[in-house]
Amino acid sequence: MARLNADNERIAHEIIGRYPRKKSALIPLLHLAQEQDGWVTDEAMSHIADLVEVTPAEVLGTCSFYEMFKRHPVGDYHVNICHGIACHLLGADELIHHAEETLGVKGGGTTDDGRFTVEGVECIAACTEAPCLQVNYRFANKVTTQDFDALIADIRSGARSDIPPHGTLAKTRQSIPEERAAGPALVEDAQEPAWLSRNGSDQ
């Protein structure tokens, strides 16, 4: 629980190298910090501020703007149950109540064993599959209370290895070799990126 560890600091420097300005790496680095600890700690934000040469207040300003960055500990599995209009009509409230009762937490709370956090969220853009939910941003569609119990049981038993712990965005990490890194550049020196001329600019 703290600053980025040595491995992640190395990755952070690689991520920073992808951008002409260090500050641009701020959001990817916040994801990296969340991947490390499951949430974004104050120490990690201070560390990121040092790495991208802004103040911690600026990092917090950006971090607090985005709902996906959690600034307090959450469970290994973050369960977002949609209560948008379509899901609401098809039983989202019952599903949320069921989830709260079976896991023994109120909305936004985390189970005592630190495994699950349940939260009601606004529309997650799967209205045809209502009621729907996400576990660590992986979708489950047309979820009944039985489906929900089975999902939780599967996760507890380790049968859902396809769902990574909270904070991990993707199982494979993007990697850009050093020779393709942007490197520091002044805005006034910036040129049209190669892919734009290759694909044909509309200007």
Binding site: A57, L60, G61, S64, F65
Partner: protein, 830 residues
């Protein structure tokens, strides 16, 4: 009408304005005020509050547009009074008031609140909002002096933009999103900015309040007057008082100087002037108030007649060459003239020095072609910063320079031994080794150089050289580090004199030093930037005792005093024990000189050694004028009465002259200008009326007859051995200076002195961060806490100057080009 003017229509009237001007400002110039919260004329537009929304027609029919985000164009029709405009503004205010508490009766801003005023003028009479308002913990400190009430905040972005854009300290920021958006700091990381008080002044609601002023007064009880803060920039201020107590300084927007901004050091220093420690009556050692105690060591209250009589007797009983006057940079121009006239014209001694030997010499302040702040900051110009850090010493100059570089495309080249507050915006930073600024400057201006010069490599020099040609060059010249010989910066100045059209802005520390020199408060000078010899004819009729030969400077006077060759020493606001470069000699002089006379606001360490003390009125308690570092004379205006029987410096000089049997002939400030104007080579245009007339004052543009004296080329020195490090002393904004220490809300910022060391050198010493180390120089040694600082180059250490815990002066050697020191851990040698 020139090409860059456009004509537009506002509320039915044709007006013209410069192209590119914002509608909100063009309308204001035309006499039509558009309400606003987020717009501030000294910051970039942001369009945050929507209050300035008006109907604008640019040919496509009228539409509502925020006038702070729109520039005027030819034929534009602006309607600030239409029903649509009024309805929009009424709606914006209703939204802004949704979450704003109606606690105006207990709010410090009530009575001077733009939200309150504009709601009355443009808003709905009643609220339709019946729901619960947003709640936050009532005021939270964002730093020691500034409190934030987030419930009152309307999210205009003024304070956060100021922190980021204007001063480059983005330590407050918008947090969260939507209805939860709030201004805040990072947890446990306060808004530690030297300029934090400005956000209180520009907050359009009562969200940000300053602790020194909170609940002290209601705005309608305050009386105010525009004046000048007597610092080297001459910041324009508004002095506000109630019941004869100064309660607040606000910045006044002067185009020429501070643009409305103030550093906290100035803004909150009003507390010092109200301090109970102010001297309220004359003091004498031994026999005060007829309670004779000839052996007494205590300073006791005395009457003015006793004190004046005693001081006059001491001066009359000796010869002029055994009388010395030290200090005077605190005084107004008029008081400086009066004291100079008293000393040089009536007493007949040239032993007068307003400087204490720790700044640029008089010939460098008077003899170099001088720039104004505006010239230094002109768009496209090149600023060369030599030997000083304006962020620490001249707060508002830092703001102006930073603006020039960040917003107006000026290029900044630093020739300094370490990082400064401007390093992150500098185009080139040449880290000259201490003592070698001159060598680096010559190399920069040479056609080609190769190899390392004074610690700077040829590529860095070449990069900086390319920038030099891009615009007119202004050199901001200062003596930041006292561990290097002043010859080093003078040599750099001399090198730059070869650049076409170069001008200099001298970064001086003590307030009215320029005024003091213009008034002749320096050995060998007379008022009007004239030498003693050249000015004899102009002044001999009124100044009967004019001395024939040059007198001693401060260092020489203190030496003479310590050797028993001085009978009277007059301290005009000077504290040699704490400010002279050699504290031992200063202390000995004050103990040896038979009569020490002090004129001051406080009993400082030197005043406590005096025999006669006169209480002086501060700049809020007497009227006069001030000369800033550009040579700009602006008005100082009295607002409150002095404590006790304290009198203005001018009156004290006149009274002392009377006791010496002379009539100084100066009773009011205007008497001074009437007497000086015709006799001075540079003050012909100056009069009290002219100074009073303009917020930007009177700028002295005439050059005097004092020539710059370039030094012999300084000798470059390598470190004496591999373990030696080169010393830099650093002036800090908050130090043990009297005004800071006597202001309860500032004193705590001064802190303990520390030694900043590059991580590489730090690791070689083998101590932990913050642990005490021993610093040994040829002249002496001190113990001080060492801190790691990557901003300090390898081979250099930076010691805070004039802070508690370690007196940097014991390491100094005025004769040395630079000073090499050794660092030792307490455990053993490193």
């Amino acid at each position: 009408m020139s090409d860059d003017m456009v004509t537009f229509n506002v509320d039915g009237n044709e007006v013209s304005a410069p192209a590119g001007k914002l509608v909100i400002e063009a309308c204001e110039d035309a006499g039509v005020y558009i309400p606003r919260f987020c717009h501030h004329e000294r910051m970039n537009p942001v369009g945050m509050c929507r209050m300035c929304i008006v109907e604008v027609d640019t040919g496509r029919g009228p539409a509502l547009q925020p006038s702070c985000m729109l520039t005027v164009s030819d034929g534009m029709i602006v309607d600030t009074q239409s029903d649509v405009t009024k309805k929009a503004q009424d709606g914006v205010l209703e939204f802004l008031l949704v979450n704003h508490p109606l606690d105006c009766p207990v709010c410090d801003k009530g009575g001077e609140c733009p939200l309150q005023d504009q709601t009355m003028a443009y808003g709905p009479g009643e609220s339709r909002f019946v729901e619960e308002k947003r709640h936050y913990e009532k005021p939270i400190p964002v730093n020691d002096n500034v409190y934030l009430d987030r419930e009152r905040c309307i999210l205009c972005d003024r304070c956060t933009r100021f922190a980021d854009e204007v001063v480059g300290d983005p330590l407050i920021h918008f947090m969260d999103r939507g209805n939860q958006t709030q201004v805040n700091t990072f947890p446990d990381e306060p808004f530690a900015s030297y300029f934090s008080g400005n956000v209180v002044q520009i907050c359009p609601v009562g969200a940000l309040t300053a602790k020194p002023y909170r609940f002290k007064a209601r705005p309608w009880d305050l009386a105010e007057v525009d004046s000048t803060y007597p610092n080297a920039m001459g910041d324009r201020i508004n002095v506000q008082s109630s019941r004869d107590q100064v309660l607040r300084f606000q910045g006044v927007d002067s185009d020429a100087v501070n643009w409305g901004w103030l550093a906290d050091k100035e803004r909150f220093s009003f507390e010092a002037l109200q301090s109970d420690n102010r001297i309220g009556s004359p003091l004498m050692r031994g026999g005060g108030l007829n309670k004779a105690d000839a052996d007494g060591d205590e300073l006791v209250a005395a009457s003015w007649s006793q004190a004046l009589g005693s001081a006059a007797k001491a001066i009359a009983d000796t010869t002029p060459d055994k009388v010395g006057f030290v200090g005077g940079a605190r005084l107004s121009n008029e008081a400086q003239y009066a004291w100079t006239k008293l000393a040089k014209g009536l007493v007949g001694t040239d032993n007068v020095d307003a400087q204490l030997g720790d700044e640029l010499p008089p010939h460098a302040l008077l003899g170099l072609p001088r720039a104004t702040v505006a010239e230094a900051c002109q768009p496209g110009g090149v600023i060369v910063l030599i030997g000083c850090d304006p962020k620490e010493t001249l707060g508002t100059l830092y703001i102006r320079l930073r603006h020039a570089v960040v917003e107006d495309g000026a290029k900044l080249i630093e020739i300094t031994p370490t990082d400064t507050g401007l390093t992150n915006v500098a185009s080139a930073s040449l880290r000259a080794r201490p003592g070698e600024a001159g060598t680096v400057a010559r190399a920069l201006l040479a056609e080609t150089v190769s190899g390392h010069i004074g610690g700077v490599d040829e590529d860095a020099l070449a990069t900086a050289r390319d920038l030099l040609g891009s615009g007119p060059v202004t050199v901001v010249l200062g003596r930041g580090s006292l561990s290097e010989s002043v010859d080093s910066v003078l040599e750099a100045a001399d090198a730059f004199l070869d650049v076409d059209g170069v001008r200099f802005l001298q970064a001086i520390g003590r307030g009215n030093t320029m005024g003091a020199l213009d008034m002749g408060m320096s050995p060998g000078l007379l008022p009007g930037r004239t030498s003693l010899a050249a000015g004899q004819d102009a002044f001999s009729d009124l100044w009967p005792q004019l001395p024939n030969s040059d007198g001693m400077n401060t260092a020489a006077m203190l030496e003479a005093g310590a050797a028993g060759n001085l009978d009277v020493l007059v301290l005009l606001g000077a504290d040699p024990i704490n400010d002279a470069l050699d504290p031992a000699v200063a202390a000995k002089a004050l103990a040896t000189v038979p009569t020490v006379i002090a004129v001051d606001l406080f009993v400082n360490d030197s005043v406590s050694k005096a025999h006669v003390v006169f209480p002086a009125a501060a700049f809020t308690e007497s009227s006069g004028s001030h000369t800033n570092l550009e040579g700009r004379i602006t008005a100082i205006r009295q607002k409150v009465t002095p404590p006790g029987t304290a009198r203005s410096d001018l009156v004290i000089a006149a009274e002392l002259a009377r006791r010496l049997g002379h009539d100084l002939g100066l009773e009011t400030p205007s008497d001074v200008w009437e007497e000086l104007g015709p006799r001075s080579a540079v003050h012909g245009d100056v009069s009290s009326a002219a100074i009073e007339a303009d917020v930007d004052g009177v700028l002295i543009t005439a050059t005097g007859r004092v020539a710059f004296a370039p030094p012999d080329q300084a000798v470059s020195r390598e470190p004496v051995n591999a373990y030696a490090l080169r010393l830099v002393t650093a002036r800090r904004m908050f130090d043990n200076g009297t005004m800071v220490q006597q202001s309860p809300h500032l004193a705590g910022f001064a802190g303990q002195a520390s030694l900043r060391v590059n991580p590489y050198d730090f690791n070689r010493v083998g101590v932990a961060d913050g642990e005490e180390v021993r610093v040994s120089a040829p002249k002496g040694s001190v113990n001080v806490a060492a801190r790691v600082d990557p901003g300090v180059p390898k081979g250099i250490v930076v010691l805070d100057y004039n802070r508690s815990g370690a007196d940097a002066r014991v390491l100094l050697d005025p004769g040395a080009t630079s000073i090499d020191i050794r660092l030792e851990s307490k455990g053993g040698k490193a």
